[in-house]
């Protein structure tokens, strides 16, 4: 039987009383439905190939040339390339996850999301999945091209752990994005400015182009709170084994555990915040108030 096929019920309450299977399937469809425009959008307008692939590669190259101008050891070039690839995910998280619910509110879609018979978390999961596809494309291309052009030598010791750390970094990053989505919605117009403030300052404290341990206490704080900082540090330790750079951060396995904790905390917080926000928004009637 189709999920949405008519079935005779005695009352509206009975009709609204969905089975767990119906709820799950609807939520899964919502995930797919929300991811769809992000993936399809990649093929609808090809300007992103130039602006999201070529230009970020050139931007990453600028930092490679800074190290070359300073005659830095070659592994530092590798750091920059890895950091440049990971920025794709961070930019996606702050621009297309954290700010997204606020955009949707401005465009008049948010009230439709809340009125639809699905969990709003599935909308966020869908956005995250679609965003990951977009960002992974950019990250892989920047990584591959830059590695080939600048002859980056990776020295990978524990491949499976590297893959696990990468996936955990994505999970924690997008979990943070889901959490920020509620906060940004609450902060309103301020969110747009916060989006910008979360770019370079986060790159700096995360040690995007240099080992984060160099920042001392600030670096330690970043490792405890920012998935980008922990993930990058763990990936560098695993991808450039034996490289001459300052050590002092926890080993990759410990950083993987930190990422697990971050993922759980961020996802839990995102769920709680969404529920709280929905309750507040319904009570105060602000779901459809735009541009504030």
């Amino acid at each position: 039987m189709s999920l949405y096929e008519y079935r005779h019920t005695a009352s509206p309450q009975e009709a609204a009383d969905w089975t767990p299977r119906q709820q799950l399937l609807t939520d899964l469809r919502a995930v797919g439905g929300r991811a769809y425009p992000r993936v399809t959008g990649m093929f609808r307008e090809i300007s992103w190939l130039f602006f999201e692939l070529l230009l970020p590669f050139l931007s990453t190259s600028a930092f490679v040339f800074v190290y070359r101008a300073l005659q830095a050891p070659p592994e530092y070039v590798g750091f920059v390339v890895l950091g440049g690839a990971m920025t794709a995910f961070w930019l996606n998280v702050i621009w297309m996850m954290a700010s997204q619910l606020w955009w949707e509110k401005s465009q008049g879609n948010l009230e439709l999301y809340f009125a639809a018979p699905m969990s709003i978390m599935s909308v966020l999961f869908g956005m995250a999945l679609g965003g990951m596809v977009m960002s992974s494309t950019r990250a892989v291309i920047v990584l591959v091209i830059a590695t080939l052009i600048y002859r980056v030598q990776f020295a990978v010791d524990q491949g499976p752990l590297l893959v696990i750390v990468f996936l955990l970094t994505l999970a924690a990053l997008y979990g943070l994005g889901m959490m920020l989505a509620s906060l940004f919605l609450m902060w309103g117009r301020e969110a747009f400015h916060l989006t910008q403030m979360l770019t370079e300052p986060v790159y700096f404290v995360s040690g995007l182009n240099f080992p984060v341990v160099r920042l001392g206490l600030l670096g330690a704080l970043a490792l405890a709170t920012l998935p980008l900082a922990v993930g990058l540090d763990a990936m560098r330790q695993l991808a450039f084994v034996g490289a001459a750079f300052p050590i002092g951060t926890p080993p990759p396995a410990v950083e993987a555990l930190i990422l697990v904790v971050m993922t759980v905390v961020f996802l839990g917080a995102a769920r709680w915040m969404l529920r709280t926000l929905e309750r507040m928004a319904r009570r105060e009637g602000r779901l459809s108030v735009r541009w504030q």
């Binding site: 970020p56 931007s59 600028a62 800074v66 070359r68 910008q196 403030m197 370079e200 700096f204």
Partner: protein, 321 residues
């Protein structure tokens, strides 16, 4: 948000004293009308940029981005060279500070298009208003440029006060500095116009395009390293980019003893001219020449984009993903 309107202007909206139709109004009021459009758009842009929060938070927001960009490079320098060369430190701090101005200027115009079309859905109304669309857009962009300028100045001050950037006011060539800064602002607006032309055609996700374009220009403009480090073809591209000459001009005027971003050992400039670094008059002429080319290209691109947007109904399009 409220925009104050001069009562005299409101009085001018009434019928002429003789009660008929004043056809001159349909032709606009020439330079005075353009100036009024620009002024109103700049005021509106500033209100939109600055009225969302308290001044302290606004200040932090304006400064955090450029300062962090400078700190990233300072730490990179320190890690590799121990920060031994203060001249090179000045090079990167000044470069990143000025670049925040470039970024703000480029993004200002492009984001005005996206703001008004995608978020506020006002672009079509603004377009059909009696104001000149281009002038209005420039006015909106000026507000973000002002925020960027504030960030750039504070980053340089922090660089001098905290990061050890050597600065001697007595040796600064102030007239050259003022001239170069003025020409630079004009070039930044021209590049911003080019990006606005692109964003008129693209979808909502083009919020990140100005930043991506600025990131790419960073490579060839001698912002954080001398052009001599680059392969020769990229150096050649850098030499025809007005922002390269702007950077060199500011450094030449304010930090004459520091390294040149254009010349130096191994540079294409040295090969072509035989001189270690360009003279002041060469910098001004090159900035003027390349700036004129970029401006003409930007205006042409914007007008073409505007025509295409009208043809295809892009002025009231909203997108999303």
């Amino acid at each position: 948000m409220t925009v104050s309107v001069d009562p005299i202007d409101l009085a001018g909206l009434g019928s002429p004293a003789w009660g008929g139709f004043d056809s001159a109004r349909t032709r606009g009021r020439g330079v005075r009308g353009l100036w009024q459009s620009f002024r109103t758009a700049a005021h509106l842009g500033w209100q939109m940029e600055a009225n969302w929060t308290d001044p302290l938070l606004f200040f932090i927001y304006s400064v955090a981005k450029p300062l962090s960009a400078a700190l990233i490079l300072v730490v990179m320098l320190d890690i590799v060279s121990g920060g031994a060369d203060p001249a090179y430190r000045a090079f990167v701090v000044v470069g990143t500070a000025l670049w925040s101005l470039v970024l703000a200027g480029i993004a200002g115009l492009a984001w005005s298009i996206l703001d008004d079309r995608e978020r506020y859905r006002m672009l079509k109304y603004l377009y059909v208003s009696p104001s000149d669309f281009l002038v209005m857009l420039l006015g909106r962009g000026v507000a973000r440029l002002a925020v960027g300028a504030m960030g750039a100045v504070i980053t340089i001050v922090v660089g001098i006060a905290v990061l050890g950037v050597p600065f001697e006011p007595a040796v600064v060539d102030w007239p050259l500095l003022v001239l170069i800064l003025g020409l630079g602002l004009w070039v930044i607006v021209a590049v911003g116009l080019l990006l606005a032309a692109v964003c008129l055609q693209t979808r909502q996700e083009s919020w990140s395009y100005p930043e991506a374009a600025a990131g790419a220009l960073l490579l060839v403009s001698g912002v954080v390293f001398p052009l001599a480090v680059l392969p020769t073809p990229l150096q050649a591209i850098g030499l025809v980019t007005p922002l390269t000459w702007w950077m060199e001009g500011v450094r030449h005027a304010a930090f004459a003893e520091g390294p040149s971003s254009i010349g130096g050992p191994g540079s294409l400039w040295l090969d072509l001219t035989g001189s270690a670094a360009p003279e002041a008059w060469t910098i001004v002429l090159a900035l003027l020449a390349t700036g004129v080319l970029v401006t003409l290209g930007a205006i042409g691109a914007f007008r073409a984009s505007e025509r295409r947007a009208k043809d295809r109904g892009l002025l009231d399009r909203t997108t999303g993903s």
